[in-house]
Amino acid sequence: MSWIPAPVSRFFHRTSSPPHFYALADRFIPWLTAIFLLLLGAGLYGGLYLAPTDYQQGDSYRIIYIHVPAAWMSLFVYVMMAIMGGIALVWRMKLAEVMLISSAPIGAGFTFVALVTGSLWGKPMWGTWWVWDARLTSELILLFLYLGVISLYGAIEDKRSAARAVSILALVGVVNIPIIHYSVEWWNTLHQPATVSKLDKPSIHITMLVPLLLMAIAFKFYYLIAVLQAAKLELLKRETSSQWVKNMLEKQA
């Protein structure tokens, strides 16, 4: 790792030591929460109140403010997991393992939200809850990939091995995501010339776009908060017998 400048590597070493990371997370979470709430409030206000009704879709389009950010996050989190997995496998970094595991339920949550909100949007727009469209199908499969990661981690008792297993799975899965995506897209166009009218992308108005972007950034901050909370728990679980946890217990008592 000689190509990494010494101060940088020192910084990583320090922040990746569990007690240090724990304290750091504790320090950051209030700030992150404040930013998240601000962005969320602004996004919701802009999206639900300020933005005009769509001339084609009526008010149902307002689902966009949660659907699209959630759908973006579902992909983003998986890519993050794969990166963490790579780091965990190559450098044996415990913190990367912890972040990987902590991300999985959050990513699964985003995927689930994208599916449900999409479905709820699809009923008024397409007249059906579900179509076997490329994007929808690959999102469903993404949910299974997340569930696989979560189940595999739960099933292996030795958590060090479990983290390794999950890192491998996340990496193999991420290689497959583009393949799945393109195969599904191709499969769909080969078979079916859009029986259901797809969303004609209306050139989105600026008053509609800004809240969408606000919500997207808000979701990123939400992810940071949630993953830090989960990582704190995971670190504690893994190091119950270590000295820093004992010290913290005494402080709490």
């Binding site: 199908t137 569930l147 029986t195």
Partner: protein, 224 residues
């Protein structure tokens, strides 16, 4: 009564075990959902075709999911010696076995009841057939557990019984499959389904009365 106490203790313990092994518990459900989603992928997004296939696809998938969950019915008991202790207990073995089957259904059959309608919706099954789908699932999933138990009991002593189990059990599942998917199919077409449901009910009652006995005999043989 000690017998009823033992029966309930078995159900309680198996549910507790299922809860402790949560990760495994959800698996038949995942498998069911996965297999159902494979079909649209394999056949292409042709709504009419999918709709016509829906009853068959859902029922075949339910069958396979139950089949794969069967292995867990006696496997761990066999491996850790609990099965021997059950055989040696002074209570009627058939009743204890029935307790295990009930627990198995609660863990692996019941969840199917909850997601099957959702998947049916995804496949485009007409709303008027939903009720029938539900009824057939309620009647037939316990039946699958009961019939399957005989097969597992016969193969639990074998190292890799999984495949053999499917060969034994799938043929026995055929009547269930025919009546259940037939009923849903007819309901989708707006036809009456009373006869099919009655037959399923009769089969369920018969299996409840008859299946535990051969299962216990087979278990005794497997432990030998």
């Amino acid at each position: 009564m000690p017998l009823i106490r033992a029966f309930l203790a078995i159900i309680r313990r198996d549910l507790l075990l299922a809860f402790r092994r949560r990760a495994e518990m959800a698996n038949p459900l995942f498998f069911f959902v996965l297999v159902v989603t494979l079909f649209p992928l394999a056949i292409g997004a042709q709504p009419n075709l999918l709709q016509a296939m829906a009853p068959g696809v859902i029922w075949v998938s339910a069958l396979l999911a139950t089949l794969l969950s069967l292995d867990s019915l006696f496997r761990s008991d066999f491996e850790d010696g609990s099965l021997e202790q059950m055989l040696l207990s002074p209570h009627a073995l058939s009743v204890l076995v029935l307790g295990k089957i009930v627990a198995h259904w609660l863990v692996s059959g019941l969840p199917l009841l909850l997601v099957a309608p959702l998947l049916a919706l995804f496949l485009g099954l007409p709303e008027q057939a939903m009720g029938t789908l539900w009824l057939t699932l309620i009647l037939a999933t316990p039946l699958l557990s009961l019939i399957g138990a005989i097969g597992v009991a016969l193969t639990v002593g074998l190292r890799r019984g999984g495949m053999l189990l499917s060969l034994l059990v799938l043929p026995l599942y055929v009547p269930v499959l025919i009546f259940a998917s037939g009923a849903v199919d007819r309901a989708a077409g707006g036809l009456p389904v009373g006869a099919q449901l009655n037959i399923l009910l009769a089969m369920l009652l018969a299996a409840l009365a008859l299946a535990p006995l051969p299962t216990s005999i087979a278990l005794k043989m497997s432990v030998n």
